[in-house]
């Protein structure tokens, strides 16, 4: 009767809630998997025959090119900034994270606006210098342009993770290499790259997931990828069944990528870690090399943040009356409301699941964290497909059993909030899990031995000790939701606009100046959060 005892003593409110949450997260994914194997229709045959190859080709080109380039840009900047002292270095430490505040789709239409025929570069050349340029060289709406946009706005993922690793974990090895007389290039290629491989790969996988998730950039620049294809078949052809098949295919590809990453790392999964945290002391650069390092960092910062930001501010000054319109206020209100609700739910769920899985042994406790990450690996459009089919299914069931008089769930804000939760649970989860890891389990155990049950221990002890991590997780989820585009476009109720959809809609309608105000609001809120995070929280 051992197993009955085991189940009984492991069943508490945390376990039950965790199981319920995990099932909720799995449902939309399962609904795709089930319908993936349904009978294909004519559209699907057509898509597979003529279009699928293009989608796969374009998506792969983007993934590979953006992955490689952002690895180079991110890791080289991380190395320069960890190891050397040069003008403005301390600012760049967090300044180079700021490009993350600009969602790539906003960057995309901003750069198009800067470079096109009526943009600031070409008009200046024409009016001041009388030069009319060949449009062929001033076109950004193509594959290289798309790659450029993704790299400059997403490289900070690689930069931050690699920098954190280099600054803390590699000090003795790099100092040794310096003492042995290796030159900087040699240290970079022979030591930094191989050592930091795990962190670089981790950063690049985040970049790749973002690229596959993106709808805004590729739609605006007219590149056919999986995500645009899902939108097109669903809303252009009205064919949900084929959209499900595309989604399932994309899920398989991502699964393949994730497995490939595991296999590639294989046994080389070592990461040189010591518990002794010794900060790497930067070496003062002199002469030419000082200015080379400075110019490199400055150029990247200018291209990835300052230039698009200034352009947006200029456009915003042309349309600032918008600020005072009721429309914008209601859009801001909507955005903050859904983001607050969803981020709160996400934080609560992340706390429950991570507390459960750290206090219990066994397979379920080990599997649950993996499931929370699922939503973050799957592109928004795919999640949207899963959730819509799920909710319509439930609505149909309730309608047929005359529980409701119309389709309630699939037309409500509830569906959008649920989608945010599925997609961004991992963001808060990671932060909270690392908070729990830092405090370990001995405080909780001490509290339990002193007579408090798991729940009381959580509120009296654990919660107080990981407040920072919980707040951090909440903010990260909030910001991600604020910027989210594809899910919101598909799942929002009729006439419901957020800052992100507002900006994207204006830009798509070639009302680029009007798109500036909502864009700037998104960027400023995100930038404040980033500053807060990497400047205030990291010091603690």
């Amino acid at each position: 009767m051992n197993w009955i005892r085991n189940i009984k003593s492991n069943m508490n409110s945390w376990a039950i809630l965790s199981i319920v949450f995990i099932i909720l997260i799995l449902l939309p994914n399962l609904s795709i998997i089930f319908q993936f194997f349904s009978e294909p229709n004519e559209n699907w045959a057509h898509i597979r025959e003529y279009m699928l190859n293009t989608y796969i080709k374009n998506s792969l080109i983007l993934v590979v090119a953006v992955g490689v380039l952002s690895a180079i840009v991110g890791s080289s900047l991380a190395w320069i900034i960890s190891a050397y002292q040069f003008p403005l270095r301390n600012f760049f430490q967090w300044g180079l994270i700021l490009p993350l505040a600009i969602p790539p789709y906003i960057g995309a239409y901003t750069y198009h606006g800067i470079i096109n025929y009526t943009g600031v570069i070409q008009t200046t050349l024409r009016n001041q210098f009388g030069v009319t340029v060949d449009q062929q060289y001033f076109d950004i709406m193509n594959m290289p342009g798309t790659i450029f946009i993704f790299v400059i706005f997403l490289f900070p993922y690689v930069f931050t993770i690699t920098k954190a690793f280099l600054a803390r974990q590699s000090t003795s090895l790099i100092e040794n290499a310096r003492l042995l007389g290796s030159n900087p290039w040699k240290i970079y290629f022979k030591i930094v790259l191989p050592l930091a491989r795990t962190s670089i790969v981790a950063g690049v996988s985040l970049v790749i997931l973002e690229v596959l998730n993106d709808y805004g950039v590729v739609k605006y620049y007219g590149i056919q990828t999986f995500t645009t294809a899902i939108f097109q078949t669903w809303f252009g052809l009205g064919d949900l069944a084929s959209a499900i098949k595309l989604s399932g295919t994309l899920m398989l590809i991502i699964l393949g990528l994730l497995i490939a990453e595991r296999v590639l790392r294989g046994r080389k999964r070592f990461s040189f870690t010591t518990t002794k945290v010794k900060l790497l002391k930067p070496v003062q650069l002199k002469g030419v090399s000082k200015w080379v390092a400075f110019s490199y960092a400055t150029t990247v910062f200018a291209v990835a943040f300052i230039i698009p930001f200034i352009q947006l501010i200029y456009w915003a000054t042309l349309t600032y009356e918008q600020f005072f319109s009721e429309d914008l206020l209601s859009v801001i209100g909507n955005t903050i409301m859904v983001a607050l609700i969803a981020a709160t739910l996400i934080t609560i769920m992340a706390i429950v699941i991570s507390n459960f899985s750290r206090l219990h042994r066994g397979l379920t406790a080990k599997l649950f964290p993996k499931v929370t990450i699922l939503g973050y690996s799957i592109p928004g459009a795919v999640i949207a497909v899963g959730i819509v089919t799920l909710f319509i299914g439930i609505d149909k069931f309730m309608y047929q059993n005359t529980l409701v008089s119309s389709y309630v769930l699939s037309t409500s804000i509830f569906m959008l909030v649920f989608a945010y939760v599925v997609r961004y649970l991992a963001v808060a989860y990671n932060s909270i899990e690392s908070g729990f890891e830092r405090i370990g389990t001995s405080f909780t155990e001490a509290s339990r031995i002193l007579g408090q049950n798991i729940t009381k221990s959580f509120f009296k002890v654990d919660l107080k000790l990981i407040r920072g991590a919980i707040f951090g997780g909440f903010i990260l989820a909030f910001i991600d939701i604020l910027k989210e585009l594809p899910l919101t476009l598909i799942l929002r109720p009729f006439n419901f606009e957020t800052l992100a959809t507002n900006a994207f809609q204006y830009a798509s309608n070639e009302m680029i100046h009007e798109a500036a105000v909502p864009s700037i609001l998104i960027i400023i809120i995100s930038a404040i959060a980033i500053y807060f995070f990497h400047h205030v929280l990291e010091r603690e």
């Binding site: 051992n2 085991n6 009984k8 003593s9 042994r361 001995s442 339990r448 031995i449 002193l450 107080k464």
Partner: protein, 245 residues
């Protein structure tokens, strides 16, 4: 017999050998038992099993007249009435000394809590430290707070996980003596886990030597180490770093 452990068995889920195997032990009321073993012998796991922090795959644990664990029953750690002093003390960093000590006095009245606080503080010689936070205390003081906190709810059984491993050598000897005195005054039944033979000899009424998760010897210190060798000799012979910071 106050504590009675029969046929205890434990296996970590990711391991294929038994961490604890066929473990039997009986302890009389008020006795101080030391479980001596090298790292990896399973001694800490044993303590966690008794505390209820791990669930055994087999075996029974009785404390007093209560069954803590059997094939059909498992009492959660918060309901066992067992105290524990952790290796790293696990003092709650966000609470003062008095809050830490009062933490386990669930359902006591305010007045009783206050009286008990003074009582245990006196016992461990820390009167006047109520308002301090753990980080404001030295290692030795932290350990006493941990002891006071564990003693405060009047546990039936008190467990110590390598209690001296974080202390300097000379402090260790002093505290060891003190601790034995305190435990004998309160008459609490206790189990120590250690890898240090001297600790075991100095403290224990009974020593259990654990090897590979099984009992290899069980007896009084004299029965196990003989009487020919004085404890203080051993301490003098064994080279040790005697720096105190």
């Amino acid at each position: 017999m106050f504590v009675h452990i029969r046929d205890l068995q434990y296996r970590y889920s990711n391991s294929d050998h038994l961490t604890i195997n066929k473990f039997n032990l009986t302890i009389n009321k008020g006795e101080i038992t030391t479980i001596l073993g090298e790292s990896g012998s399973g001694k800490s796991t044993l303590l966690r099993l008794i505390a209820g922090l791990e669930m055994p795959s087999k075996g029974n644990i009785m404390v007093g007249d209560d069954c803590m664990c059997s094939q059909s029953k498992f009492v959660q750690p918060e309901r066992r009435g067992i105290g524990m002093v952790f290796q790293d003390y696990a003092l709650f960093p966000h609470m003062t000394v008095s809050e830490n000590i009062k933490f386990g006095l669930v359902k006591w009245s305010r007045k009783d809590k206050k009286a008990r606080l003074q009582e245990v503080l006196e016992l461990v010689n820390l009167e006047g430290y109520e308002k301090r936070y753990p980080y404001e205390l030295s290692g030795g003081q932290q350990q006493r707070v941990a002891l006071a906190r564990a003693l405060a709810p009047k546990p039936k059984l008190l467990l110590f996980d390598e209690p001296f491993s974080n202390l300097d050598a000379d402090l260790q000897i002093k505290i060891r003596e003190e601790l034995r005195k305190i435990l004998k005054t309160t008459g609490v039944t206790s189990i120590f886990v250690t890898h240090d033979q001297e600790d075991a000899q100095a403290l224990a009424d009974r020593i259990v030597i654990l090897r590979g998760g099984e009992v290899s010897q069980n007896g009084t210190p004299e029965e196990i180490f003989g009487t020919d060798c004085d404890i203080s000799d051993r301490i003098a012979v064994k080279p040790r770093v005697l720096s105190r910071t």
